[in-house]
């Protein structure tokens, strides 16, 4: 019986370790996906806002540090004329939304980031 209990204990340790490591791996991927999204926002901010077309931009494919592949898509949108946007034209500002998607053994995941691109010399 003692042997059985020890076995059960080992099983639980293994399960706990697996759960924790899976959780931290998932968190790690979320974090890396955020970095990818942030990097894409910055990359688009460095480009000419006026020259960027509205809609989905060419998708970006890459791998996280553990080899898991991801696909990132930047979607640019018009901000609209009124409200807080104060008549800004599409040449002056655009909305940017980044979606980073990946799939692993636990299923499909995605991370979003959103910002506003403006014409400014940095």
């Amino acid at each position: 019986m003692a042997i059985g209990l020890v076995g059960l204990l080992l099983l639980m340790i293994a399960a706990t370790t697996l759960t924790t490591s899976r959780g931290s791996a998932a968190a790690r991927l979320n974090y890396e996906a955020q970095l990818v999204a942030q990097g894409l926002l910055e990359r688009y901010q460095a480009r000419s806002v006026a020259a960027l077309p509205l809609g989905d931009q060419p998708e970006v494919r890459g791998e996280f540090s553990n080899g898991t592949g991801y696909v990132a898509v930047v979607t640019l949108s018009s901000l609209g004329p009124g409200g807080p946007f104060g008549g800004l034209s599409e040449e002056e500002a655009k909305g940017a939304r980044v979606k980073v998607e990946w799939r692993d053994s636990t299923g499909a995941h995605q991370e979003l980031a959103e910002g506003i691109l403006v014409k400014i010399a940095r």
Binding site: M1, L8, M12, Q45, A51, G86, L88, E114, I120, A121
Partner: protein, 636 residues
Amino acid sequence: MHSRSQRPRGTLANVLLILVLAFGLLLISASSSLVQIRLNNHQSASEGSLRLAEATANLMIARLIKDPALDENSNLDGSQKEIRLELSSYPGGEGYVTLNSDRARQLNIPWSVNNLIKPARQGWNDTPVAGETAHIVAEGRYRGEVSRVEVVLYLPKFPYVISSTVPISGTGLEVFGVRDPAVMEQGIDAVRPEDREPGHVATNALNNTAMGLHGSTKIQGDAQSRGGIDLDDGAVVTGEIRPNADEAPVPDIDIASLDPTLRAGAVVDPLSNNLGPTTLSGFKKTVGNLRVSGPLTLDGGFVYVDGSVEITGGLSGNGAIIATGGVRVTGGGSSSFTGAGGSAIIAGDSVHLESTGDGVADFRGLIYTEKNLTSRNINIAGSVAVNNPNGTGLTELTDVTLVESPELGVVGIPVTTTRPGTPAGMMPGGTTFHANVDGSGRYGFPTPVTQTVDDGSGQTADVFLTANMNGPNPDYNNPPAIFEITHPPTSREPYFQIAMPASRPADLITFGSIRINNLNREGPCQSKEGNVGWQSYHEDYTDRTSARSGLLAAAQAWQVNVEVDRFLDDSENDVWNRQMPEFVEMYNHNAKLLADPDAPTEPGTAPIVIPSFVELDLSRFYNLSDRVKILSWRQL
């Protein structure tokens, strides 16, 4: 050996121990998962609030660039004084920014200050916000997390040390900026690393190699291109490398409008088409090409050539070469391009600068071309613009150092012209305010005493202590600081016009000066006018405090009680009520007459030398919104 009764107890203890351990492990596992979930949520909320803050700050930047006049009274969204931004990726979250401190306090958020076109004011958290800057603090709130982003915008006089519509090719090119041109006293190459600031380069060419940085090129700033940027292994850009960037502003000058014959009042001398080594001053113009075989020195020279220019001995001094065609300057010697006061080269065609002697030459000032720029072995401090309208051509910089210097990018040229005589109809200066000009003893000034005239004649004269309030001598190129300038000189109307100050200044003695005459009661006097004697020595005081001390000392020397304060009060009142209005009328009338070359000259009067000042400033061709840049960006 264990007894039978001990074995079950031992087994039970083992089971209990293992169950406790198992329960502990379950607890750890559960709490670990919980912590993980919380961390994920926290991270996600943090990221969301930060993105909202950043997006709101960006939106405020765009709004300020579109309308730099936005201030604390501006409605930023309908009738609201704040911007509230929602983004679909962060449901329930909001970004906030406002320029109104009262509204900020109501919303419990920081406020931003826009001083882009205003003088310095304090901002949120007692942050000093300088003039020509904006301090933006945006806040994002999402799932209980709060993030703040602080952005400082500023208005550099020149956004780039070189902005070009054609591709830039740099080999051995070095680019940096300096705040104070004095750090270049020992030469541009001698600027210490700690005095070097960022200097930026930009091209609007669209091809893949719109900016080629080769060899040991070092850009201590940003490299920006509408097309691509080709960076060799040895080349370094310490700032941002921005291919596919926005169009950079490039100045666009109407060169023909700089023809000095279009300047009202300018006396323009014709210039020969072929010159040897020479120094040029004043306004000059030649039709056809100009060739200078040897060095050309500009000493306040403003040279306009309706054609092209070739100078073979280098260019130095302070002035401007303006050509509707190209400008080619070659020469030897490391100082042959140095202009201490700065020079300008403005050309409708290509500009070629090359030091062909020993060492690298320095050029200080501004360069503008509407075709190509080629420069070799030249250090250029100031501002460079290549505005080739058709975009084909090249800016080729070989072994060149470019230094961004806002001060040197503006070239001021003192140009003197000579009028044949005094214009007819000049108004005379006004009369002064006297205390005792007739010796009548006003304000307690003494009646005359008899003194010997010190001219060997043995005569005597009546001498009395006196003082008077004098106005300034009118300097038609530098109006007295006490007045407001209502019209600065322009190329068409090259004269100042002034007006009375809006409110009465505190010390009106500064308008001119109090002069005290005949300070010595015992004499002698040095001259005699009628029966009144005058001592050659006098004292002048240009503020009330010192004038009061001087008058009291003089009264003591004469052993009289002078009503010093009443005299000074009356002097100031006379200045304010009579002298200054008279001076304004005279100044404005005479300034216009002097600037009018067609005004008839008073016969028999001597020629008048009129100094004028021509300022060439590329920055005035930039829109304010083109100049706005981000100085700093940080998360608070």
